[in-house]
């Protein structure tokens, strides 16, 4: 819809405006705008400027290191990488998800719900709420979590305590709030003690109440300026994510479902081990982040969104009562088969936080969760795929090993990567709608950041285009004339151009 703003025809003749870095997101990215003499936006891009390279340097390591090693991709959602890698290495020891001991599955879900809860709380209260509570163009000096603490201490404190609770769940299961150990091949390394279970149960009703309040708060904000919230950075898109067999919202394990802009199913209950038959990635020369797309729809039209909005859009229902009531209310508000409002990510995110809190209570009250039967083994395999719904969306880990248990190949499709085209499209929409022809200032430029922030991108997780980025090298003489030009394609083919 706004693709024409991806690449300007004569960039060297345009004025350049840069937001560097994009603030209140995880990782490092920048936005560049190219404007003509009338301040009309001709090009708008979100660039990911950091590089990680995990897919390469885990090659040569023993596979059992993967969950602990790869979780270092991130300090916010390491549990997602830990569990996705854990699910993949289960397969390497011959254990499919349905054969994992029930208690191990419960503990992994508990760990995951704790993580999604703390990550969603971090994003909504610490990163996004300053924009939403004070206004996108409010005083920048107060547009931060410290400002929220000063003006809305009760809301800020709830955010801090929600995050703390989620981190306590993580600590109890994995030994540390950040970067613990839990998933091992075929199971988990520690049972949940009764005392730890009782400790977590102590505050869970309060946590559920606070997450329900957060859903109400984000709804109030959305309804306070409904048309603006509905339209800001809004882009019709496809959506993809995991789904339970019965169509319920799923965060830990399920099949892949994709729906189009009208809510029609593109594919459903797909075995995620066959993801490569459905999703491919392309690379572009101006960013380290790849651009995934649905293979059946092609590079141009196959881009999609993942994350809370995608999951709430795609599911038929949520299997916890308060979150399901919130989902129905959410859908009724928009009165359309699929919700395309980018700011609705916040609403969907808090519905998921409520679902996580309810699910944690269910798991803690289930006696099976305390079982010490935690590990099983099967026959060795040489390839494993683990997929999970991370806070920011569907996360793929795919590994191959040799006969000596050493990793020979790795492919990660990280949640934020799947939203790459969508984030750029939202940036272009905001630039075209709100910035065109206006004299730019910080408050206006913050609109671009608000659009990006809605996706809760984790840019540090999502940069894996090593060796595949197309490059162009130009030799220019002292009068600006191009003497020679070489182009390296994504397949590493080098040719004169």
């Amino acid at each position: 819809m706004y693709e024409h703003l991806e690449t300007a025809e004569n960039p060297d003749k345009l004025k350049r405006v840069v937001i560097d870095p994009v603030s209140r997101v995880e990782g490092h990215g920048k936005v560049t705008l190219l404007l003509d003499e009338n301040d009309q936006v001709k090009q708008a891009r979100l660039h990911i400027v950091e590089f990680r390279g995990f897919e390469r340097f885990i090659q040569g390591r023993p596979y059992w290191e993967l969950p602990v090693l790869v979780q270092r991709l991130c300090g916010i959602c390491p549990v997602s990488h830990h569990l996705a890698a854990g699910k993949a290495i289960d397969q390497l020891v011959g254990v499919d998800p349905e054969n994992l001991p029930i208690a191990a599955t419960h503990l992994r879900k508990l760990l995951h719900f704790g993580q999604v809860l703390q990550s969603h709380a971090l994003h909504f209260f610490h990163l996004a709420s300053p924009d939403l509570l004070f206004g996108f163009d409010s005083d920048i000096a107060k547009r931060n979590i410290i400002g929220v603490i000063g003006a809305h201490p009760d809301i800020a404190l709830q955010g801090v305590k929600l995050r703390k609770y989620g981190q306590e769940v993580i600590r109890v299961v994995s030994g540390k709030r950040v970067h613990g150990t839990a998933a091992i091949p075929g199971g988990m390394n520690k049972p949940l003690s009764k005392s730890d279970r009782d400790y977590l149960l102590t505050d869970i009703d309060q946590i559920i109440a606070w997450t329900a309040s957060a859903v109400a708060l984000v709804k109030t904000l959305h309804c306070s300026n409904r048309s603006f919230y509905d339209e800001f950075a809004s882009i019709p898109s496809h959506y993809m994510g995991l789904i339970q067999t019965d169509g319920a919202l799923e965060l830990y394990h399920g099949g892949l479902r994709a729906k189009d802009t009208e809510g029609a199913v593109i594919f459903d209950h797909v075995d995620y081990c066959k993801y490569n038959d459905y999703i491919h990635e392309q690379v572009k020369s101006w960013t380290y982040m790849k651009f995934p797309y649905l293979l059946s729809l092609g590079k141009e039209n196959g881009w999609y969104r993942v994350g809370p909005l995608a999951r709430v859009n795609n599911c038929d229902f949520i299997d916890t009562p308060l979150a399901e009531a919130a989902r129905i209310d959410f859908k009724q508000h928009f009165e359309s088969p699929q919700v395309h409002s980018t700011l609705a990510f916040h609403w969907a995110r808090m519905i998921e936080a409520l679902h996580c809190a309810e699910s944690i209570k269910q798991l803690l009250n289930d006696p099976v969760t305390l079982s010490t039967d935690l590990v099983t083994q099967g026959e060795k395999r040489f390839e494993g795929v683990g997929v999970i719904e991370a806070p920011r969306g569907t996360l793929f880990h795919h590994y191959q090993i040799d006969e000596n248990d050493i990793v020979t190949r790795a492919n990660l499709i990280v949640s934020t990567t799947s939203n790459n085209t969508a984030m750029n499209e939202s940036v272009r929409q905001v630039a075209a709608t709100y910035l065109n022809g206006r004299e730019l200032n910080e408050a206006l430029l913050n609109n671009l950041e608000v659009a990006i922030r809605a996706y809760d991108p984790c840019l540090s997780c999502a940069t894996h285009a090593m060796g595949k980025m197309p490059l162009a090298v130009e030799l220019v003489d002292n009068e600006g004339k191009i003497v020679d030009r070489l182009v390296k394609s994504s397949s590493s083919h080098i040719a004169a151009a």
């Binding site: 023993p62 602990v68 030994g175 091992i184 390394n189 520690k190 050493i406």
Partner: protein, 237 residues
């Protein structure tokens, strides 16, 4: 009449033939070390146990205790030197504690904490060393070898096999494996050998056991290396 020497101002009794390290351990005093193990011949390579003996620096694990010695171990100077030595051990190999399966059970990490090492100080050398994962049950990650030669001594003195040796000098020093192919799979090493279990770092590992001990239950999670070491070394036969 009991013979004694002075260690950090305390009279330490000793028997003829004991090293300063042995006498100190017997008296309940910890001297930081990595290559020393009470079950094997002292080697004196890591230099962490260096102490000041009557004004001269000596390795406590090899230097004999003698009556009238004045030995200084717990001084600012000695511990600063030990910290520097430990930092060198870290930068000479590739020791990435955050993902290492030996973390929490690693003596190198434990002694670094004991010496309050908070950074590497020196530039990392990032040597390129391959893993030997050829053995079905045992893996050697040469990146983490500190050349303490405990595996060499354990294999020779207890297992009677001579699976390992240290080859080369200086920066070219490396652990080698006694087999026709030079690979572990063709050596005599088995999972029950003492040499398989003696490594103080994460260089020699039993396959398929990583991270099974949860955080909180690992050796150094609740006890410092000085406590663990005194408990183990003093109970050795």
């Amino acid at each position: 009449m009991t013979q004694t020497f002075m260690l950090d101002g305390l009279a330490i009794p000793f028997e003829d033939g004991q090293t300063i390290m042995e006498a100190a351990i017997a008296a309940g005093h910890y001297i930081p070390h990595l290559c020393y193990h009470p079950d094997f011949t002292p080697y004196g390579s890591c230099k962490l146990c260096n102490v000041n003996v009557n004004g001269k620096i000596c390795a406590a694990c090899t230097f004999p205790a003698m009556a009238g010695q004045t030995v200084i171990s717990e001084s600012e100077e000695q511990n600063r030197d030990r910290q520097r030595i430990t930092q060198m051990l870290f930068v000479e190999g590739n020791h990435f504690c955050p993902s290492c399966e030996k973390s929490g059970n690693c003596q190198l990490q434990g002694v670094a904490y004991h010496l309050k090492m908070t950074d590497d100080h020196f530039n990392h050398q990032f040597p390129h060393r391959e893993i030997d994962a050829s053995h079905p049950d045992i893996l050697i990650d040469f990146n983490r070898c500190i050349f303490c030669a405990l595996c060499v001594r354990a294999s020779q003195e207890e297992d009677g096999k001579a699976v390992f040796a240290i080859s080369g000098r200086g920066i070219n020093k490396r652990l080698i494996i006694n087999s026709d192919s030079g690979q572990l799979k063709d050596s005599e090493l088995t999972v029950n050998d003492r040499a398989t279990h003696i490594c103080p770092t994460g260089a020699i590992l039993i396959k398929h056991t990583a991270y099974q001990v949860p955080i909180g239950d690992r050796q150094f999670d609740h006890h410092s290396i000085s406590e663990v070491s005194m408990d183990q070394d003093s109970s050795a036969p």
